[in-house]
């Protein structure tokens, strides 16, 4: 069976005055119908870049290679006009920045109307009003606030408006870039419920981009972990949380703060993301990796399959098969 969305060997560079930013480097993964994928990783590792590439909305200084097959069509090859028809209706996206993604001089309702008109030019005003009210209600905002301007909304309300816009047309695929960063946990839960519901009743599949591993655990069935533009590890959510293979995944899971625990200590991964204009040779994680070996500094590890998961690390595959201490699991 063909996957709904299949990303193959996707690489994206940004050309800048001081050099080329290798934001995404040779990543592949696929999304089946009704799948939800969590795309996780540190700030600046190329998550949004990947998400935006799917909709063909990268800025002009980006250079893309590889392929993005959606229902068998390569989105990187089709015309702008065709791509525009795909956007919003087949695939829709919730952008990361809720403050700047809404047009400040347009009322909330005009945002909805514009979207609806773009795809259904003949729809009448009442119908449009109905759809927008429904969508807004589903994210917990009263329809009477359709007349407000974005600046009259709180940060979280803007973010919820973005979500409402993205699901108004009931797309078959949703790319959600940090959809719940400005929301309190109760409303977040409510929105996750809406998304789960869409997944179930409308067969919507989803790519959830986030750094919140709690949300990932709640919503997705497959996880793709990115590190500095590389795909570090991918596989199903249970096994990744239970037994992370890549040292980075392990560190990431361990740094989740836990409100339930007594201690007030905050853990984080020491060091920082490498400069993507000059990524380290070999594996990009080696400067921060506790299991670093000589080969890691010399050669980029191949992507290998371990227990049905993909992992890009010298600890696995080939003759070296030591593995990291498999007993320790994620923070419980």
């Amino acid at each position: 069976m063909m996957a709904l969305l299949e990303i193959k060997n996707l690489s994206i560079d940004y050309l800048t005055r001081n050099g080329t930013v290798k934001a995404v480097d040779d990543i592949s993964f696929s999304v089946e119908a009704r799948d939800s994928i969590g795309l996780v990783g540190e700030s600046g590792c190329g998550k949004s870049t990947t998400g935006t590439a799917i909709l063909g909305l990268l800025p002009p200084n980006a250079r893309v290679s590889g392929s993005i097959l959606f229902k068998g069509r390569d989105l990187l090859k089709i015309s702008n006009e065709e791509l525009r028809k795909v956007r919003g209706k087949d695939i829709s996206m919730i952008f990361q920045d809720p403050m700047t993604s809404l047009d400040p001089i347009m009322r909330i309702r005009d945002h909805f109307f514009e979207l609806l008109r773009a795809h259904y030019p003949k729809m009448d005003e009442n119908e449009m009003k109905k759809i927008s009210s429904e969508a807004l209600k589903s994210v917990g905002i009263e329809p009477s606030r359709l007349n407000n301007y974005p600046f009259e909304f709180s940060g979280g309300m803007r973010q919820r408006t973005m979500i409402a816009l993205a699901i108004a047309l009931q797309p078959s695929m949703l790319i959600a870039d940090e959809p719940t960063t400005s929301l309190d946990v109760v409303i977040q839960e409510q929105i996750l419920e809406v998304l789960r519901d869409l997944k179930k009743t409308k067969n919507m599949s989803m790519v959830l981009i986030t750094h919140d591993l709690g949300v990932v655990a709640e919503l997705v069935n497959k996880v793709v972990v990115m590190y500095a533009g590389h795909l570090a590890e991918s596989g199903d959510v249970y096994s990744i949380y239970e037994k992370p293979l890549h040292p980075y995944t392990k560190a990431l899971l361990e740094s989740i703060p836990n409100v339930k625990l007594e201690d007030r200590e905050l853990r984080y991964i020491p060091g920082s993301l490498p400069d993507l204009k000059n990524p380290p040779k070999g594996c990009r994680y080696w400067p921060r990796c506790p299991y670093v070996k000589d080969i890691c500094k010399r050669e980029t590890p191949p992507t290998v399959e371990v227990d049905g998961r993909k992992v890009k690390c010298w600890l696995y595959g080939g003759e070296i098969n030591a593995g990291i201490d498999k007993t320790s699991s994620a923070v419980s």
Partner: protein
């Protein structure tokens, strides 16, 4: 330090902020009273010197508005704001402008709160310029040393960058640097860490604590992230629909949340374990709007413990075991 911790730095009394709602004029003619968004509806609290008070609560419950009113970026509808025993809400425009160096705000969105056409070195030194502190050379010196403190290294190179040339975490640090450059006494930090991933977030929180200790600051820390609140706050106030429903010491609040909303809030934190999917109490019922505030207790429409009195009478914020909570469950009457 010991003595000053007892002193109250900021005290807010019966603060209200209503925003008039825009409606088509045809409807406006028919209605006698213009509908308003009751963003904050009669709240009172105080913050002691050197303390960090957390403000958590539902999205749209009025946290940002509280922060903005307190430092008088917008005018309160009514109420008093005493800062260092002076009523800020009565200061004249010019006096207010001068007083601004003492209280600063870190805004919810770091990208949107930086002027895209101003280099960040200038952005951070601008408050000094405005308040005529130091010579240009001293200002630059100060900004550079501040950049090193917030880990924007090499400081000289960052000095000339534009906001769009920084990553999210770096922008956040710029905003923090700008807020502390005038050595203020009080800072409102609005979701200062929301957009950051756990790793960077921890670093920024540590930074904020360091700076606080260095400069003897007082924070109002607005957030929806309970983990951050737990880490940085001494006390936490919980807001719901424009009202404060509970104020308690951080440890008390996490050990035993009293108000039903607080309990639900604590319970809804996603657990990073896929096997534990969906085992939470999530309130049923629609989120009420601050335009048509429910009668009685505002939370009764979604409260699992609601009784008859809850829909009739608004509970006051009263003391219960040394903590403040506004709920009929704890009302002695």
């Amino acid at each position: 330090m010991q003595v000053s911790t007892k002193q109250v730095l900021l005290s807010v009394e019966n603060l209200k902020k209503y925003f008039p709602l825009k409606i088509p004029w045809t409807q406006a003619l028919l209605k006698r009273e213009r509908p308003t968004v009751k963003a904050i509806d009669d709240i009172s609290f105080n913050i002691k010197k050197g303390e960090t008070l957390g403000l958590v609560g539902e999205s749209g419950s009025g946290k940002t508005t509280t922060g903005r009113v307190i430092i008088r970026l917008i005018e309160p509808t009514s109420g008093r704001i005493l800062f260092d025993k002076k009523d800020i809400s009565k200061l004249s425009k010019e006096n207010l402008r001068r007083a601004r160096k003492d209280f600063q705000m870190i805004f919810q969105d770091p990208m949107a709160s930086l002027n895209p056409y101003m280099r960040i070195g200038k952005t951070v030194s601008h408050p000094l310029e405005i308040h005529k502190i130091g010579t240009p050379a001293e200002r630059k010196e100060k900004v550079l040393s501040l950049f090193e403190k917030v880990n924007l290294i090499p400081a000289k190179e960052f000095f000339n960058r534009f906001p769009r040339q920084l990553s999210g975490g770096q922008r956040q640090r710029v905003v923090i640097a700008r807020a502390v450059v005038t050595n203020p006494k009080f800072i409102v930090a609005d979701e200062a860490t929301a957009m950051l991933d756990v790793s960077v977030r921890s670093q920024i929180l540590k930074l904020m604590i360091d700076i606080k200790e260095d400069l003897g600051l007082t924070y109002l820390f607005i957030t929806h992230d309970l983990a951050s609140a737990k880490y940085i706050c001494d006390r936490i106030a919980v807001m719901y629909l424009g009202k404060i429903v509970e104020i308690a010491k951080t440890s008390d609040l996490f050990k035993e949340p009293l108000h039903p909303y607080t309990r639900i809030l604590m319970g809804a934190v996603p657990i990073p374990d896929p096997k534990l999917k969906r085992s939470k109490i999530i309130p049923k019922g629609e989120i009420p709007s601050p335009i048509n505030v429910p009668s009685g207790c505002r939370f009764h429409t979604r409260c699992p413990y609601a009784t008859k009195i809850c829909s009739e009478e608004e509970p006051e914020l009263v003391e219960h075991q040394g903590r403040l909570v506004a709920c009929h469950l704890f009302d002695k009457k």
